[in-house]
Symmetry: C2
Subunit: 356 residues, 2 copies
């Protein structure tokens, strides 16, 4: 059977100060009125019944996950004993699914991505699910819109299937974040896609790859999973012995049978405030400001204000991002949004962890 | 006897959103840790004993005035029954002082100005006080530092006295806010001063001028003053019949015997956020930010943050003013600080008086 697994981890500092360690962006409403995780679950309910939609995330976010997954069975929220990168989350989900359904096929979904084109999304996930039953690991790619250096790319080969307006190709290779020159080449070449992830695979296939490439890990995953609710300490002990390693590095790079489904998802990974601005509705001056703001000679400016009813007034601003929360205020040139990480570093250095 | 009268009126929107109708700037700490009114009272206590220092202000600010004037006798806080421009405040003070001290000489001080050079201030006020005993109305002027068009100017004539490093001159004429060309002429001419105000006069002289130029007003001031504590309604009735008129227009322009004391006061009237910036301590990058702020590639920027402990982070800003309060946030180019009044106008138009 097909299952949808939503990975809810993520440190949540790229959209600081709105996102925090305790409140990563998947739990926030950024461009719609619903939190990204709630949007994600709503999207998946069209592809799988609630009992086959799973969330995996950390103890610190358990309450938020349960709130937002209120329509799912309680046992479908899997709380990791501790963080062990994406391999930890995928391995734990694998173990739980396999115990219920030896034939399980699942996609690992991001909890915090925006998908505008639902028809293509549905078609891509369905095609990936049916292809994965036959053995390959299937990911999803989108045509690159510009030479982004912050994403991974995937080179597609021969067509292996097509259905409902989406096509699947053999994967020639994955390329991690390229430099600008390479990225430009990939965009020109026409057979490179942005790697969106959304890996779909047989749970048993993941187990076999882990057995082969990460010896001892399967035992730990299965023991942790079995003890998760009944013996948290035992589960933690088993889990804590796992390495911190990304699933890409652990098994994906080593797999040989790989397929990519190309789809026009209207996909957006909101990685910084410039991306939030890009995805937000804007007025005639290109501003995205709270209702009732007073904007004088202001253009291209985004304001995210936590406190309801708080008034924003701007004078003479251009391309600025303003993010106001109760205990922190960020004002940045929009094209410097990536430098929020320098703010985070500075706060860590000064021991101001309470603001993270 | 010499008395110091502090005029505590003022609508308080030029430094919005920090200043409000309910909290004009004289009650706030802007460039030091003490509110401007507290600084003003401290300055005056060196020139007059507490029982001869008076505050005049509106009902809406009575509590604030009394808090900040805790060291003065309670009866020295004069609360106007309603607002009648500066003539209302000066006339009421005149009536109260005359009842106590027919020979009273007093200076009307601003409650919200900054004076850096106390020695010159003391000398100027003392010289003004002693000259005013002889009859003239004495104001204080400072040498113009640049052709400001937002101030009034005073043309000085022949020297009439000098003492303790300050000199007094006959006033040739007062000029209201000039245009840029005229202002430049005045600065070049060398015999024009910025009019700081600080008018010093005999209470009996003010009474005579009001009798002559604003018929009926003296009766209303004296009746209001007599009823102020015992019969607030009666005091209001008498006071409300007075015209709304500035003391400059009511009597100063019509007086003939006028003297100006020139002094190097280190004077600053904090009229907008650019002026607050100018008067605030700054770091090596010209920023005036709260302790603990993270400023990346930021220059010439001021942040005023109401909430203690709230963190400010800036990236790539130049010459920006940020003013954060619980219910409003202003971000403006520093050289557009004067346009705060456009924000105020917009809020009035929209009926958002709660933010004023």
């Amino acid at each position: 059977m097909y299952h949808a697994v939503v990975l809810c981890g993520g440190s949540g500092t790229r959209l600081w100060p709105l996102t925090r360690q305790a409140m990563p962006k998947q739990f926030l409403s950024l461009t719609t009125e619903r939190p990204l995780l709630v949007e994600t679950i709503a999207r998946l309910k069209r592809l799988a019944p609630p009992e086959r939609i799973w969330l995996v995330g950390g103890r610190a976010h358990e309450r938020l996950m349960r709130e937002m997954a209120a329509e799912l069975p309680a046992e479908n929220v899997i709380v990791e004993p501790t963080a062990r990168d994406s391999t930890g989350a995928v391995g734990l989900a694998m173990a739980r699914l396999l115990r219920r359904d030896p034939e399980a096929v699942f996609t690992a979904f991001h909890s915090d991505h925006i998908i505008a084109n639902l028809a293509q999304f549905d078609a891509a996930v369905r095609l990936a699910g049916s292809l994965a039953e036959g053995g390959p690991i299937v990911n999803v790619g989108v045509a690159p819109r510009y030479p982004e250096t912050g994403y991974g790319y995937v080179e597609r080969g021969a067509v292996v299937a097509s259905r409902d307006g989406v096509a699947a190709f053999k994967v020639v290779r994955f390329v991690e974040k390229p430099n600008a020159e390479r990225a430009a080449e990939y965009v020109r070449a026409g057979n490179f896609l942005w790697n969106v992830g959304l890996f779909t695979w047989r749970a048993a296939g993941v187990r076999a790859l882990l057995t082969e490439h990460l010896p001892g890990s399967v035992e730990r995953f299965e023991r942790s999973e079995a003890l998760l609710e009944s013996d948290p300490d035992g589960a933690l002990e088993a889990f804590a012995g796992l390495p911190r390693i990304s699933i890409d590095y652990a098994i994906l790079e080593k797999a040989t049978d790989r397929v990519v489904v190309e789809a026009d998802l209207g996909w957006l990974d909101i990685g910084d405030w410039a991306a939030v601005y890009a995805a937000s509705p804007k007025d005639a001056d290109g501003n995205s400001l709270p209702d009732g703001s007073v904007a004088i000679d202001t253009r291209g400016t985004l304001a995210s204000i936590g406190r309801p009813g708080k008034l924003v007034a701007t004078i003479g601003l251009e391309d600025v991002v303003v993010v106001d929360t109760d205990d922190a205020l960020l004002i940045a040139r929009r094209d410097r949004s990536q430098d929020v990480k320098r703010v985070i570093d500075a706060l860590r250095e000064r021991g101001l962890e309470r603001h993270l």
